[in-house]
């Protein structure tokens, strides 16, 4: 899947929007850094998330990694498939979103990077 239409945070989350609905996941860079993902601590449907705050955790064999909300909103669906198959994120991090959110403040998207800027950002960090 192309990442051209995605927005990225500095904490390596991505956002894909369809009007006021936003899908949120973690980037390919993040899943590679984590290694085998074995557990996703999912939030509850209906919970509020706010930009910059932790809303979930992804765990690999070695480590726990907090997932920060790139935008604010209300969770309308969580990807329950990750309960039984967290490795889906390794297999395709852009297809396998973590939560679907109703955005509160779409202008927050302006604070995020496009895929080109994000690729640069990842290179700089290496």
């Amino acid at each position: 899947m192309s990442t051209k239409s995605l927005k990225f945070s500095q904490e390596h989350e991505w956002v894909r929007t369809e009007e006021v609905t936003a899908y949120i996941g973690i980037s390919d860079f993040a899943q590679q850094a984590l290694g085998d993902i074995v557990f996703v601590d999912l939030p509850k449907t209906g919970a509020k998330i706010s930009a910059g705050k932790v809303f979930a955790a992804v765990e690999s064999v070695k480590a726990v990694s907090d997932i920060f909300a790139p935008i604010s909103g209300k969770i309308i669906e969580v990807n329950e498939a990750l309960n039984d198959a967290p490795e889906l994120i390794n297999e395709d991090p852009y297809e396998n979103w973590i939560v679907m959110v109703e955005m509160e403040e779409p202008s927050e998207l302006l604070n995020l990077m496009d895929s080109e800027a994000y690729d640069e950002f990842c290179k700089e960090g290496e």
């Binding site: 290694g35 085998d36 074995v38 557990f39 601590d41 955790a57 765990e59 690999s60 064999v61 070695k62 726990v64 309960n83």
Partner: protein, 375 residues
């Protein structure tokens, strides 16, 4: 700051391993995937660079007697060609380190210690040997030498380990029983070769000169290819040893944890000479301890991690020593220190994960035991 490098550093880099700092060493944590490397070792074979381990040579007249006064296990029955696992206790009954002692000759012992403890252990041995020498002239000739830089170490572990290693070995590996070793040749290089390991599988550890490490590593990888042998990093080394309930210094063992608390009383002998902390250890064996190491299995989803609080009925009752997602059992498992009253199998406990209690229960250790094994 760059860490210390093993003779195989270049091999790891060339294979694209992810490197981490481990006790001051630049070590591979994984080559491809911790789970893949773990399962390869359980089902086929894994190859490990463990050159970071420390080696200390203790020798001279009276060295067996001197060492026996510093360790918890009894060296009396040790013979050349045999290996013993023991603990080096401090005066408080805590543990300076856990180690293997290879008896090379009547008055020559090869101690294999944890990488991050090597300098500490060496200083501890020198100081205590000096103390013994001052008190008893018959032990005055015992010397300790840190020979870590003279050895590379490679482990080959798993059900196919023997078959792969045999192709390159001068000796018949059937002759090397569990916890025995031979000074022999692999790929025409002189090695110390023992049937030991840190994975819960059958396997061998090979001590070689640093200059021989690359050819042995490449030779074993090539010889094991058709058997599905994989190079294995420290990530899977940890999950493998954890499932087999082999202690890791700094987790199940420390200067503040006694062997009795850690469930290692089997390696503590009381019917032998004095050693540091013996009275405290004896007391604990006879009267019990405040805490004890147990296995914990999560009943709900989640992964217990080192340091997480164990709670009973909402009250803190202990902490996790080591915890991970077990690649073999595909669930969250931990070792934890809890009061003896909560140590019975099936006791219900909570592990506090990100401020939330997650249901767990006490299970038997080890989590994993290999099915068969002629050795």
């Amino acid at each position: 700051m760059a860490g210390k490098r093993t003779p195989l550093f270049g091999e790891h880099q060339a294979m694209g391993a992810k490197m981490v700092d481990f006790g001051g060493w630049d070590m591979p944590v994984q080559y491809t995937s911790i789970i893949e490397e773990h399962l390869a070792t359980r089902e086929r074979a894994g190859l490990f660079d463990v050159s970071h381990m420390g080696e200390i040579l203790v020798k001279g007249r009276g060295s067996k007697e001197a060492l026996n006064r510093l360790v918890t296990n009894n060296l009396a029955a040790l013979e050349p060609g045999k290996i013993i696992y023991t603990l080096l206790p401090n005066d408080r009954g805590g543990v300076v380190d856990d180690l293997l002692i290879y008896m090379l000759g009547e008055e020559e012992f090869f101690l294999v210690v944890n990488a991050s403890n090597t300098d500490k252990d060496y200083a501890w041995l020198v100081r205590n040997l000096e103390g013994l020498a001052a008190a008893e002239p018959s032990l005055a000739e015992v010397t300790a030498e840190n020979v870590s830089a003279q050895y590379g170490q490679i482990a080959i572990q798993g059900p196919a380990a023997q078959e792969v290693l045999q192709k390159l070995s001068a000796c018949d590996l059937d002759q090397i029983k569990f916890f025995r070793f031979q000074q022999t040749e692999v790929l025409n290089r002189p090695v110390i070769l023992s049937r030991t390991g840190y994975t819960g599988e059958d396997g061998f550890e090979i001590y070689c000169g640093p200059e021989a490490a690359v050819s042995l590593w490449q030779g074993l990888l090539a010889a094991g290819k058709e058997k599905g042998l994989l190079p294995v990093g420290l990530g899977a080394r940890d999950t493998l040893r954890f499932e087999a309930a082999l202690p890791l210094y700094g987790h199940e063992l420390s200067e503040e944890i006694t062997p009795v608390e850690a469930g290692l009383s089997f390696f503590v002998k009381l019917d032998k000479c004095d050693y540091p902390g013996k009275k405290i250890i004896k007391d604990q064996i006879e009267k019990g301890t405040q805490r004890t190491l147990v296995g914990i299995e999560l009943v709900e989803r989640g992964i217990p991690r080192e340091g997480y609080v164990i709670a009973k009925d909402g009250q803190p009752a202990g902490h996790v020593a080591s915890g991970t997602h077990s690649p073999t059992f595909k669930k969250g498992l931990a070792t934890a220190f809890v009061p003896p009253a909560l140590a019975a199998v099936d006791t219900e406990l909570d592990v506090i994960i990100r401020d939330k209690p997650v249901k767990a229960k006490v299970v038997k250790l080890p989590f994993y035991r290999k099915k068969t094994g002629k050795n």
